[in-house]
Every structure is written in C-alpha cells, then in structure tokens.
Amino acid sequence: SPQVVWDTLGNRQFCSYKITTKTQNFCRNEYNITGLCNRSSCPLANSQYATIREEKGRCYLYMKVIERAAFPRRLWERVLLSKNYEKALEEIDENLIYWPRFIRHKCKQRFTKITQYLIRIRKLTLKRQRKLVPLRRKIERREKRREEKALIAAQLDNAIEKELLERLKQDTYGDIYNFPIHAFDKALEQQDAESESESEAEREEDDDEDEDEDTDKREFVEADDSDLSDFEDMDKLETSEEELEEEEEVEEKASHSRSKGKAPLKGPATSKRTYVKIEYEEETEPATKTKAT
C-alpha cells in the first residue's frame, strides 16, 4: 500500500504537498524529515516513519507505525526529548532502535539543525533587535507633500542671500569686504544738507592725518584710472575720494585686502586676488586722483 501511494501521489499524480523547482522537488508536509520529495522521505508513502519537530523551543520525536495506520488520531506518537543535546541523541536512538538506518540518521541530523537554530535565536534575542516600524502610506504621502510645499515656501536661496547680505551690513565680516560705498553714499547724501561744513572739516582733518602716511601711495595715481572707471559713482568723485581715504585708513589697520580699494565692485576677481596677492599689493595703493584740487 505505501508503494501504491507513492506510485500515485509521489511520482505521477498530483500531491498537494509537492513543490517542484527546476532542480529539485520539495515536500511541504510538516512531518517530512528532510523536506525533499523522495520515496524514502515521504511521510505519506512510508508506513513506518519518524520526524523531529520543535515547539516553543522544545524538541519532540514523532513516530508513525503501521499498526496505527487505521487510527489517524493516534497515528503520530510524540516523545519529548531532553534539553541536553547528547542525552536527546541517546533518546532518539533508544526510541528508534531497530528502525531503518536512513530514518535514524536523518532524525539526528534534523535534531542537530534544530538545536543549532534555537541557540542562534536565543543569542540574537540578547543582542539589540532591529525594530521594524510599519510605514503608513497615507501619512508618508502627506509628509512628503508637505515637505515639498514647505521647500517651495522656504525659498531657500533667497533666504540665504538675504541673511548673508544682512550680515554684511551688520559688519560681521569686518574688513574683508570693502563694499560699503553705497552705505557711505547714502549717509553722506542725507547729511549733505545738514553738515556739509562738518564733512569738509573732517576731510581736512583726514588730509592732515593721512598726508604723511599716504604720500607714497598718492604717486601711483595713473594705474588706477581703469579701475576707477569701474566705479558706478564716477560722477561723485569727491565723495568717492573721501570714501577711499577713509577706506584706506581702515585698510591700513587691516593690512590685507588692499586691492579691494581699487575696484571693490569687481567682486569675484578682486576677492580672489586678495587671497593670492596680499603681500604684493601693499605698496601699490590706490591714491585719490585729484587730491590737490
């Protein structure tokens, strides 16, 4: 009869536990000892059969004999194996004495495998577990969309540029950049009506102070013409003179970025130049053009 079972189910007709793949056939039956679909491993096609199964960390030996083939409820006899590995192997041997070699061998192999993976489980639970948090699709979509909207609303480039310009105005950069021509312009324009005489007085004072220091620098006037032409405030030569003077004062203290005084509006070029040519440009300072007038 088991032979008949195998002839029909195993080889020819349909077996619901059988899974075929390109290279091998597997058996999904829970009582199967090797997991493959073979004549000797099929629990349906063998009247005398044994397996090892584990439940909640304890291993059991299941046995099926032909005497009980008529009683499906009592078909599988279950024996609890001891936790001790060697002892359990002895128990298997004891219970499966006089059983075919194949089943005994495979039972022990399966038992070994099961104990190994149980040990691994216990070890892993002691280590940090990776917690899987399920994503909620709706919420993910919502968050993504809100982030996009927030990005658009943020206008990052503008915000950063504004902040940087603010910092420039607040003078956090100190003397690195020598831009504040416009600021001086506006300030002077505002004060023109009120304190013109004051500014003239300042100019004279500045002249006196700077005279000794700037005499050398005033010689190199002609070289700066081309740069001066870059100024947007060409029409306001007087004011630009003053600004240059004041800038020079500041620059002397700073002692770098002198070339900025030449053409502060040529941003990229000059800023690069300063880093490289700081030493060279100390002497060739821009002087005010028509100081004498």
């Binding site: 940090r128 982030e147 950063i160 941003g267």
Partner: protein
C-alpha cells in the same frame, strides 16, 4: 446673443445675489456665462461697481499660523537665563570645542557611507566610525572619555539614510529626526566644487519657539565658534513648517547688494520626532517632546518648531 431677451434678466443683473449658475434655462445660463467671462477678460467686475477691490494680502500658511505660546521673544529674560544655564552654555561661552562622532546603524550600505563621509567634510572636527554592532549605551561613555561633544547616528533603511539621532554628549539632550530627500554631492547640479577645510558659518532661520530655539542651539553647537570668513562657506539650517532644510553653500559678494551662492555639500531635510533630556536612552529617557501624530497633526496651521 439673444436680443429678444425679456426685460426681466436686465433686472436680474443688478441685485447682489445674482449668480450665473442659478439660472435654470440652459441656453440663457450659457449666454450669461459667456457675457460674464467677457467682462472678466476686460478686467472689470461687470457693470455694477467701478473698479476692482484693492488687492488683498494673500493668505499663506505662515501668515495663518496658529500663534504658539512658546514663541521666543528676543528680549525675554527668562529665555536668556535659561540659555545661559543649559547644556549648551559651555559651548556658547567658548569653553568647549566641538568634536563630533558620526556613525551609522548596523551594516550601512554604500549610500549611507558616502553620505557620512560628506557630512564629515561639512562639519569640521568630525570623525566617522563604523558601528559594527556596538550598543550605543556602551559607545557613549567611551565618547565622553575621549572628549567628544556630539554624537550623530545616521539610521538607514533599505539602503538610504532615513533617520538622524543627534546626541549632545556630556549629559546633553538627544534629538531624533526623520531625514528625507538626501542628496549627495554628485547628485546636486553644480560645476564640480568641493568644500575646503575652512570653518563654515552657520545660518539658523526661523527657529521661533522654545523648542525651536533649543534645537537651533543644538545645531549651532556642532560648528566651531569662529568661522573663517575667508572660506566663504555657510551651512544653513532653515526651518519651514517644522521641516528643517540643511544646505551647504559657498557664497561670493558680487557687490554689496548682490551675493551669489553655489551649492556644495550634501543636502537633506529633517523633521523632529522627539527630543529627550539626557543622552540616548529610548526606554527610560525623559522625553521633553515627542511628536504625537494624533494630537499634533490635527491642524494644518500649527507648527512646533
């Protein structure tokens, strides 16, 4: 159009309750709609009234934001006092120099590793270490012993970084963020620039509430106190609607009214999930703020940072 229209529709035009959609007669309704459309195109609201109402200020979510009672007033003394005595005070008093440890979760994939490397070029004085299965609780005492001030753990899922844990070390607060839209350097369209070794400046935008303030200070304490302006690099943390956008740029002042920026360095966005008082302890930690979806996400105009 229908010239043979009865005088009744003429009456209908003027009362304020006129609406084209309420006319039952389809032909008539269509006609009125076309006429209304023409008037719209001509730039008037139609025969009644003279000119259009004055342009109103558009409502934006930022305008309509629910006022948060924990918004920090710049002159608030209590806040100033708090900030002088909180965990970041040593940094802001220049007593400590930031030293950052960057690590990942277990078994990082290539993208995360590259992101960590790029992040370490952005943050000066930072070191990347592989995790190799070490428990955070054991790493932290070692870090403190070696004088690290901050610990950054980048969590990874399915080969992309998706979370960031920022832990200020000597007993500092721990912030847990969700990270999204991470762009590595090569994915940002630009003409091949690398950040230099100069210390960048830091810009923190829009951190208005108390919570936002503390998070902002956390970010500020990652960077050394004195930026090198020569380097012209700036790291920006911009908070908008509870999303913190991180960008790293190089800037150039073309004139005093114009500045050009060029993006280098990675970019990512963060969303705060929780802020915890002590160092990293997910089970027994004292949480100062957790994002609770059911309570906090109910209003679209309410933000917490």
């Amino acid at each position: 159009g229908e010239d043979g229209a009865p005088p009744a529709p003429e009456r209908v035009l003027f009362p304020p309750t006129f609406s084209v959609s309420e006319i039952k007669n389809k032909q008539r309704r269509h006609f009125m709609f076309l006429r209304w459309k023409q008037q719209q195109r001509k730039g008037g609201r139609g025969p009644p009234g003279g000119r259009a109402p004055p342009k109103a200020i558009p409502k934006t979510i930022e305008n309509q934001r629910v006022y948060d009672e924990t918004t920090v007033d710049p002159n608030d003394e209590e806040v100033a006092f708090d900030e002088a005595t909180d965990e970041f005070a040593p940094y802001f008093n220049r007593q400590t120099v930031p030293k950052i440890l960057i690590t990942t979760s277990d078994r990082p994939r290539g993208r995360t590793v590259r992101f960590c490397e790029q992040l370490s070029t952005v943050i000066p004085n930072s070191h990347v270490y592989y995790r190799r299965g070490l428990a955070l609780k054991k790493i932290i005492p070692q870090c403190i012993a070696r004088d690290f001030t901050d610990l950054i753990v980048i969590n990874e899922d399915r080969k992309i970084p998706n979370g960031l844990v920022l832990c200020h070390l000597p007993e500092g607060p721990t912030a847990h963020f969700r990270m999204s839209s991470v762009r590595l350097r090569k994915e940002i369209k630009r003409t091949g620039k690398e950040p230099t070794e100069h210390k960048p400046e830091v810009i923190l935008n829009n951190f208005t509430t108390r919570l936002g303030h503390s998070i902002g200070r956390m970010f500020a304490s990652l960077f050394p106190h004195d930026p090198q302006f020569i380097g012209r690099q700036v790291a920006t943390f911009h908070n908008q609607r509870d999303y913190i956008f991180f960008r790293f740029h190089r800037y150039i002042f073309k004139s005093e009214k114009k500045v050009g920026i060029q993006e280098l360095g990675p970019r990512f966005t963060l969303k705060l999930r929780s802020l915890q008082r002590g160092t990293f302890d997910s089970k027994f930690g004292e949480y100062e703020w957790i994002h609770k979806r059911r309570e906090m996400d109910t209003s679209r105009r309410k933000f917490h940072l």
